[in-house]
Symmetry: C2
DNA sequence: CGTAAAATGAGAATTATTATCAAGTTTTGA
DNA sequence: TCAAAACTTGATAATAATTCTCATTTTACG
């Protein structure tokens, strides 16, 4: 991957501004300071950075995709009321991969858990 | 929900023919015997049936959506080579909901786990 | 029956994303 | 250093999946 200013801007926007943003959200943030960054470049870079393991595209949420700069293993919770996405520790499903491999005979290379429900704020 | 022939056809196609089909796959199956069923009707009915809890829209796979007539709790495994979707027993992640609720203080109403990797056939 | 509510087909519209391609930028190595 | 190769970009067209619109038809029920 060669250096480009645009890629730096995209990565910085993801790291410094919001947690779990969509591409559209990042686009609007980036537009303010760097209106020269096009949408194609944004999508291209998000995909390349995810491919390289530098960021993560969160599977399991319906479109639009959300992105995460935290690449450590963890799960996600989406609040059905406010729509926010929260992190959930990977401790909640220990051994889930080994158990699945045992049970199925399949080789698991990745997995994602998405919980839906009501976050603390929205329960009130 | 009122009765309609089309809804019956959609549900039957899902139950009797393939496992975990996409809307497109169902459409092509239905077309053979019931070419009068339109795509709008297919999507409408899949959503309504899912809403009513009669079938399930599998979250966590990227588009296109896959549907499941098995509404009992279970997870899914998608083979990265052949693309097939397999069921995984809910035993592989016991207590995952209670643990998550404990850890986060959130109320979990549903969750889905999607594993990716290689199925038995594709490991060879 | 008669009518209100629900469902339909056809196709337009929408949303998110990817592809195309000519032009600009970065890297390479002679 | 400098030119060629490889990579990246912006603008926009294209695609894919799904939802919406609306005039017409079907269903439920008093």
């Amino acid at each position: 991957m060669n250096y480009s200013k645009q890629r730096e801007v995209v990565l910085d926007a993801l790291i410094n501004n919001v947690i779990h943003p969509t591409a559209e959200k990042l686009y609007s943030i980036i537009q303010i300071e760097y209106p020269e960054v096009s949408k194609a470049t944004l999508y291209r870079n998000l995909n390349q950075l995810a491919e390289a393991g530098i960021i993560k595209k969160i599977d399991g949420l319906e479109a639009p995709a959300h992105f995460d700069h935290n690449t450590h293993p963890h799960y996600h919770f989406i609040c059905e009321k406010c729509g926010r996405v929260f992190d959930v520790s990977s401790d909640v499903a220990k051994d889930v991969v080994s158990k699945t491999e045992e049970e199925t005979g399949f080789k698991v290379t990745s997995h994602e858990i998405v919980f839906k429900g009501l976050c603390k704020d929205c329960q009130e």
